[in-house]
Symmetry: C2
Subunit: 140 residues, 2 copies
Amino acid sequence: MKELIAKYREKGLKITPQRLAIFKFLEGNTSHPSAEDIYRHIKKTYPAISFATIYNNLQALKERGEVLEITIDSQKRHYDPNTEPHHHIICTKCNKINDVFHDYSEAVRLPNYITEEFKPVGNHIDFYGICRTCQKKGGR
Amino acid sequence: MKELIAKYREKGLKITPQRLAIFKFLEGNTSHPSAEDIYRHIKKTYPAISFATIYNNLQALKERGEVLEITIDSQKRHYDPNTEPHHHIICTKCNKINDVFHDYSEAVRLPNYITEEFKPVGNHIDFYGICRTCQKKGGR
DNA sequence: TCTAATTTTAGAATAGTTATAATTTAGAAT
DNA sequence: ATTCTAAATTATAACTATTCTAAAATTAGA
Ligand SMILES: [Mn+2]
Ligand SMILES: [Mn+2]
Ligand SMILES: [Zn+2]
Ligand SMILES: [Zn+2]
């Protein structure tokens, strides 16, 4: 908490109550929330919060490498405060996104005809699956 | 051409000139166009074409498994008439999307803690890189 | 040729996101 | 503690991509 404040002060951000609430919500969060998910959560404590504040802060965090945009859902963007390289699995029924911590960098070597054309800079795997909960529901 | 018409008739679609133009544009297309890309192309031949027609037809094609939505660009959806499993590499400078034809299915086995929670149904790898053209431009 | 069902179209509606400008606030300087 | 200014928040407008609606036009089969 004290560290959270210090951390973001060092990054040149003024600490406001709304902002701090957003930081706290994201800290260690593995739910891959959308802007709206964040908005709804902060609204409980700060009912006057504006959507713009959510987007402004996500922007500030992105610029400072504290949050990553996930492009896995074509409807809306999701955000991930875990900036360590990792992958995701999304439930094709309920769209729940879970982390996949496994290093596939050796396994996914690009074929030569691609490296002749592109200088590789990274990769991300989207796995698709059906989560436990949805398996049960669908099983009927 | 004759086959194209027969193919879609069999799938229960009436053949209109606009529709046929869209099918022809997509046939074998590897550019991963957005709805707007398609619209702009068809507009050259059918200036009165509506955006709704583009989306209607993409919908019809999706339902019939003739086109896939690609979720790699958070701004807009892209479409791929190649429904064979394959992956993509996107240029982080100009957003060009190229195909990566390589079977990684053995290489990207999910860890157990995931398969205990999800029944896997597929995967897709987004590679990131810098294309030749952008390498030259950036080199200055 | 006639007709019913489908498709196209213009335009309105909606959802997600970004921009604008007035007001408020954080935190540094006094 | 008070003052000051840059930065942050807010309401709201604007914008972009996509979906919906309902009327008009077209297709394909009888
Ligand atoms: Mn994650
Ligand atoms: Mn492709
Ligand atoms: Zn699920
Ligand atoms: Zn490029």
